[in-house]
């Protein structure tokens, strides 16, 4: 019986990849464990191994094909002696347009799925929610409003991943005191390939692979920063930074104050934060609100690639300890990034990403994907939402939010983190003080649900916010 070989996913967030090379050709016998092909993503190159025995009857995707969706049949194996031509007729899509036939991916990437609002998006806390529509994350972000560089600047389409790497490389070229340390940052080229190529350019002295000891190497980074070095400490995810949180809070954030201003700590702690896809509760925590609570830290959580680049460069130059919260799902997304010799953005400045007059949606990091899609859908219904990307969570740019709310009179916040004491709660409290007289409706929060992140695909979708919830919350504050 013929068996389809499917395009495999190399990571929980992989959506597509390049079929770079076939190592077997049609008619070759294969046995379990044989390497059939090499596939490539922006993160890594991996081999596809056969798990069945038989004959490689048909190759469905030619080598060199890019953008092959996960789960697309790429070849057919038949049992020995079976009719190869029969298999050929069975073999799904013709070679040329195979990528156009994506099989259902295991994650949330089903574009165009119906988005019905969750019935209870208004109150996020406590009570179990009725099932909400699956979250939809577009892989193609709408072009953001950009005004922080000269008009006419050439824009280069760049992934967030590349932007982060470029920022580090540029700052390392600029100042010798800057170095990167963390697990798998050097030889492996980064667990998420953020540090790709840095070892080759800067050498092992400045790109330092550490043992898996977050507590210890975070402390070493802080100690080195006390002497004036400028470490970039990569956590494979911020979930693991829990092991190191004593040094982040007690050593890095507080020493300047406790030393009466003598001992600054110019260090950047960076890495992916929040949910990826299907990695369970211990690898999905969003720490935005935690770190934003601590005086002595600056906390940055960019959405676009240009913000990732401009703000990471600013973070590396900043004399204070910085928490730089990235998002694994955003790593592969592309955005226009200005082609400038030295593109540095100010820390602590929110940006109006989309202008509108009817309601203000405030978000940051991956929350922006929900906010922007909701704004798009709302526009079609005649509601013009202004979408603000906070970009920096501490210090928080309340002024930009207040100015917008003065205009719209309504506000909805969007974040993947938990509802209690979250970023939305903070914005809500500030608006109550600074924009009380302008508010025409209570501020509503769209957040992750108040549960540890589940593993099952359907439950994970329910636990995260979704576009429908944002739309419903906006309609609620607009009394529509």
């Amino acid at each position: 019986m013929a068996t389809d070989i499917l395009m495999p996913a190399l990571s929980p967030t992989m959506e597509e990849g390049k079929l770079s090379k076939w190592l077997k050709k049609e008619g070759d016998p294969v046995k379990s464990g044989d390497v059939l092909a090499e596939i490539e993503t922006d993160k890594a190159t991996m081999e596809v191994e056969a798990i069945d025995e038989g004959v490689l009857a048909r190759i469905l995707i030619e080598e060199g094909t890019e953008g092959v969706k996960v789960n697309t049949p790429i070849a057919v194996i038949v049992a020995e002696g079976e009719d190869v031509s029969a298999a050929a007729s069975r073999g799904g899509a013709p070679k040329a347009d195979a990528p156009a036939q994506p099989a259902p991916a295991p994650d949330m990437q089903a574009e165009g799925q119906a988005e019905t609002p969750a019935p209870s998006a208004k109150t996020q806390d406590d009570k179990p929610k009725a099932p909400a529509a699956p979250a939809t994350i577009t892989s193609k972000a709408p072009a953001p409003v950009m005004e922080e560089f000269p008009e006419g600047t050439e824009m280069v389409t760049t992934t967030v991943r590349e932007a982060l790497r470029d920022a580090m490389a540029e700052e390392m070229r600029r100042e010798e005191a800057v170095f990167v340390m963390g697990e798998e940052v050097a030889e492996y080229q980064g667990a998420y390939k953020i540090t790709q190529g840095l070892l080759q350019e800067f050498g092992a002295r400045r790109v330092v692979d550490t043992p898996i000891t977050e507590h210890g190497f975070a402390g070493i980074g802080v100690g080195a920063a006390f002497t004036g070095l400028r470490p970039i400490v990569e956590f494979m995810t911020f979930n693991f930074a829990m092991q190191a949180i004593d040094h982040i809070i007690n050593s890095a954030a507080k020493t300047l104050y406790m030393s009466g201003g003598q001992l600054g700590c110019p260090i950047v702690f960076r890495g992916p934060n929040g949910a990826a896809a299907r990695v369970g509760a211990q690898h999905s925590h969003d720490y935005s609100a935690w770190y934003s609570n601590v005086p002595g830290l600056k906390v940055i959580a960019p959405y676009t690639a240009s913000d990732a680049k401009g703000l990471l460069k600013a973070a590396i130059r900043d004399p204070n300890p910085i928490i730089f919260l990235e998002n694994e799902i955003l790593y592969g997304q592309s955005f226009p990034v200005p082609k400038l010799d030295d593109f540095v953005l100010p820390i602590g400045k929110a940006r109006v990403h989309r202008t509108g007059k009817d309601v203000t949606i405030v978000s940051f990091s991956i929350g922006m994907t929900y906010a922007l899609k909701a704004a798009q859908a709302l526009a079609e219904e005649g509601i013009e939402a202004e979408v603000i990307d906070l970009r920096t969570l501490r210090p928080m740019d309340t002024d930009t939010v207040v100015e917008s709310v003065k205009k719209t009179g309504r506000c909805v916040t969007v974040e993947e983190g938990f509802p209690q004491s979250g970023i939305g709660a903070e914005i809500s409290a500030r608006l109550m003080v600074d924009a009380f007289d302008y508010l025409d409706a209570p501020v509503l929060r769209v957040t992750g649900k108040d549960v540890p992140m589940p593993y099952a695909a359907n439950l994970e979708k329910l636990a995260l916010p979704n576009v429908g919830e944002v739309i419903e919350a906006v309609k609620a504050v607009c009394y529509r």
Partner: protein, 364 residues
Amino acid sequence: MDAAKDAGQAASDTSLPETGRPAQAEAQSPAEIHAPAPNSPQFTREEDLHAYHEMLLIRRFEEKAGQLYGMGLIGGFCHLYIGQEAVVIGMQMASVEGDQVITGYRDHGHMLACGMDPKGVMAELTGRRGGYSRGKGGSMHMFSREKQFFGGHGIVGAQVSLGTGLAFADAYKKNGKVSLTYMGDGAANQGQVYESFNMAQLWKLPVVYVIENNRYAMGTSVARASAQTDFSRRGISFGIPGEQVDGMDVRTVREAATRAIAHARSGEGPYILEMQTYRYRGHSMSDPAKYRTKDEVSKMREEHDPIEMVRKRLIEMHGVAEADLKATDAKVRETVNESAEFATHDPEPDPAELWTDILLEARA
């Protein structure tokens, strides 16, 4: 006493922990451990005079701090170094200018040994604006970039990773400096200590780990908290050499420190010194010390006091007149009284200081 072990022997000793060994060590009373070594290294007259002055300054300073605490002028926690003076002074006598020092919360002695101004230290204890941290750090959190003293850390064991980071920076900058990273016997059981040992040896960082074993982590004796009570062996699995040192004798401390610092500075990597010492006072000011007998304390004070031993040598071996030593005592008392005077009359920080030193301004 348990003589200093050969570094190489300790490093190559890969046998499993000898369970009988620590038990034996524990059976000894503190006074037995500090029985005079047959061939103690000798100090010149000047060296003994220097050690005497430095240790006496710490002793008198700490006594004064205890007094001010009792008067309610020092708040919060206050951990005194009395009894342990020979450790930090012997270490400092073996280090050179520019070497960094970092320690935990029992830090007043280290600051004075680094040459920090007693007035600034005492004023920090009283929470005044002339304190090293402008009154915002307190007893456990003082720093001096000028004297390369990096704190003063209140989280047990945190300074070990931080001190390893200082050494990382030294290696990165190739500046020839050594990080002297102190911890107590309690901190030596923290997980991050071993994470740091691993990386320090892996990367051959110039750090000397000084474990001040004063026999009690707060009120828990070493035997009740540590499966391996020979702290010099704590680096064996990483190949880090270690020695047990009589931490009550400033001469043996300096001798071991010289060896350890030379090892670290030469690029050979970290070195562990277990300083067998003793604190006379409680863990902090509020410690009634019910976990040990008065006899144990008084025996150590009478027979192994680090300052008395030097004083005796100065008179008996170096022919220093009692009157000269009394003059030194008077000078030290005056310095300490001045610091107390300053610390009790210096104003509290300006209320505006509440909002300063939280973040540094970004460079232009």
